[in-house]
């Protein structure tokens, strides 16, 4: 992607939404408090200006009714529309898991490939701003486990823009998880869609590979800076999409560095990092000089107080320690 102009994540997402609504006349967007809250763009600004430009027929505030909304947008997708539903916090999607998992994800398969289900569920996950246990979970692993779903975890403003364009154009149900502590991250944003299943090398290195997403990706880049000062060159890979995912990029990097660390904010145990480690061990054992190391959230809900919240989420120091452990 050519570097475009600098933008914060929420503006990049907002720009993507405007483009999507123009590109796909059959698309519409809806969610709780998406047109009149704050400055008129929902909780984090992503839908700002859409109502004015596209009207109430295509930009709709909904009742607080996740269960019916998640199944309704899935069915609306199978009937020829391209809905984009905002779930204010991904934690709330639990109220409508039937619509996502039993209906949308299985629709194409159960009915023998008759139906496309081009629905995008936009939401946010992650910790860092004191939203506590029921507004801060990282649920990407749960969704990535379900056959039929695509799962997107953009880690930069540019990826947020490009991947949302692809999510909206996809004929599969797509879970698009923004990170609530990255809406004000600034970075270059291009004008093109970014295909799913293509990892990004966020930093090149030769001594160890760190695969990480979103907030842990940014901690990993900080860790890489620190380690570089000690002469350890870390290659940082952002998978960008957890399904489809790009193991080849991981194998190629490990072929170079021979060491692997996987980091995410989702609970470490049974997390997607375990999957990446397992696949690497199975397929590229000969490329590893040491056991891979996982870094992830603690097996605890996200607490409220800042000192506690920081204690359960991986830090830059945890990444540094993990890299050193695998290199030891």
């Amino acid at each position: 992607m050519s570097a475009g102009k600098d933008m914060v994540t929420w503006r990049a997402l907002n720009a993507a939404m405007h483009q999507i609504m123009e590109d796909h006349p059959e698309s519409f967007t809806l969610g709780e408090d998406i047109t009149t809250w704050g400055t008129g763009g929902g909780t984090y600004g992503v839908t700002r200006g859409l109502l004015k430009k596209f009207g109430r027929e295509r930009v709709m505030d909904t009742p607080i009714s996740e269960e019916v909304l998640l199944s309704a947008v899935s069915a609306a997708a199978s009937r020829g529309t391209r809905p984009i539903l905002e779930i204010m916090y991904s934690d709330f999607s639990f109220l409508g898991f039937d619509g996502i998992i039993n209906q949308a994800a299985k629709n194409r398969y159960m009915f023998g490939g008759q139906f496309d289900v081009p629905v995008t569920i936009r939401s946010n996950g992650g910790s860092g701003i004191g939203k506590a246990a029921q507004h801060s979970q990282s649920l990407e692993t749960l969704f990535a486990h379900i056959p039929g779903l695509e799962v997107v975890v953009p880690g930069t403003p540019g990826d947020a823009y490009g991947l949302l364009r692809t999510a909206a154009a996809s004929d599969n149900p797509t879970i698009f998880l923004e990170h609530k502590n990255q809406y004000y991250d600034r970075g270059p944003v291009g004008t093109e869609a970014i295909p799913f299943g293509q990892a990004r090398i966020a930093r090149e290195g030769k001594h160890a590979t760190v695969v990480a997403t979103q907030q842990i990706l940014s901690y990993s880049l900080q860790a890489a800076e620190e380690l570089a000062a000690e002469g350890i060159e870390v290659e940082v890979i952002d998978p960008r999409t957890l399904y489809p995912f790009d193991m080849d990029a991981v194998y190629a990097s490990v072929g170079k560095t021979r060491h692997l660390v996987v980091g995410h904010e989702a609970v470490r145990d049974y997390g997607w990092g375990a999957e990446f480690v397992a696949q690497t061990v199975e397929a590229a054992w000969d490329k590893l000089d040491a056991a891979p190391v996982r870094v992830g959230g603690s097996r605890a809900p996200i607490p409220y107080a800042q000192v506690l919240e920081e204690a359960v989420i991986p830090s830059k120091d945890d990444i540094v320690a993990a890299v050193k452990r695998t290199l030891a």
């Binding site: 709709m60 019916v68 998640l70 199944s71 947008v73 619509g99 009915f111 023998g112």
Partner: protein, 326 residues
């Protein structure tokens, strides 16, 4: 009451009901024979609802059905042979054998699936109605669900959403009095289920689900309302499930007498008697017609039995759209 029933449309409805009954009558037999895996849920006795509602719809309209959904699917126009093939898990089934009895979808007929999750169709039909409104295609959507599903939370959300947005959806509540083995008398404190619609601003009507004409009349009015942009309607239709919840049901939760009493108001027998009385058909002609219908269903069954099982490779297709990484 006689104008509708005493004509060819009434006769067409009678034939469709009888053909569906013959189809459904075979389900326990096929199940005992080991040809149906898992569970299958026949709907003998409930034919007038599926047929009466479907007569008010076109191919462009959508339905979201239930676990007990063969009749809804067939009444909407599905081929009997392909439907049977799906129930037997065969290649020629509508879903290539991937769906089975509880997951039959027919895109070109707007059949958005029978469904293994009780109450799920309520949200799905609401979504189909939302799509109709977005696309402006004038279609309506029907959600069939039972008295058991009426206790699912999605009903409250769907009724409210459909009412505030005036979505063209018709909620058809088939009150067959049992949710698996649970009697509605024990499961709701307010037996008048129309009140649930009224509470959310959904115009609600009750009717005799064993009477084809009554169902058709209520459905037609609801479809007209929906097409005119006036929003959703709830129809609470009284009916009865002659067989158990599924093949193998011991039915210890109800008496034989109760079942026999319900059969005295059989939708097919009652309509036949009226059509004979009105001179639309004679008893002898019906006997011939019945045999023809029987033979059509027999042919459908043979088609299904002769259809091969799907190729094993099909287990791994259609998880994702073609072209997407899967």
């Amino acid at each position: 009451m006689t104008e509708y029933q005493a004509n060819e449309q009434g006769l067409a409805g009678l034939k469709l009901m009888a053909k569906i009954r013959e189809f459904e009558r075979r389900m326990p037999l096929l199940s005992e024979e080991g040809l149906i895996r898992g569970s299958t849920h026949p709907s003998l006795g409930m034919e007038a609802i599926a047929v009466g509602v479907s007569l008010a719809l076109t191919d462009k309209d959508a339905i979201a059905s239930t676990h007990r959904g063969h009749a809804h699917t067939l009444a909407k126009g599905a081929d009997f042979g392909r439907t049977m093939a799906e129930i037997l898990g065969r290649k020629d089934g509508y879903c290539g054998g991937k769906g089975g009895s509880m997951h039959i979808g027919v895109k070109e007929l707007g059949v958005l699936g029978t469904n293994g999750i009780v109450g799920a169709g309520i949200g799905i039909a609401t979504g189909a109605a939302l799509a109709s409104k977005q696309l402006g295609d004038g279609s309506v959507a029907v959600s069939y669900f039972g008295d058991g599903a009426s206790n699912q939370g999605v009903l409250a959300e769907a009724f409210n959403l459909a009412a505030i947005w005036k979505l063209p959806v018709i909620f058809v509540l088939e009150n067959n009095h049992y949710a698996q083995s649970a009697s509605i008398d024990d499961m709701v404190a307010q037996p008048d289920l129309t009140k649930r619609g009224e509470a959310y601003g959904v115009p609600s009507f009750s009717g005799d689900g064993m009477n084809l004409e009554e169902v058709y009349g209520l459905a037609t009015a609801a479809v007209e309302r929906a097409r005119a942009g006036e929003g959703p309607t709830l129809l609470v239709l009284e009916t009865y499930r002659y067989l158990g919840h599924m093949a193998g049901d011991t039915e210890i939760y109800r008496t034989k007498e109760e079942v026999e009493a319900a059969k005295s108001n059989d939708p097919i027998e009652t309509l036949l008697a009226r059509l004979i009385e009105a001179g639309v058909i004679t008893a002898e002609e019906w006997e011939t017609t019945s045999k023809e219908l029987f033979e059509e269903v027999e042919a459908a069954e043979q088609f299904a039995r002769n259809s091969p099982y799907p190729d094993v490779s099909e287990a791994f297709t259609d998880v994702y759209a073609k072209g997407a990484s899967a």
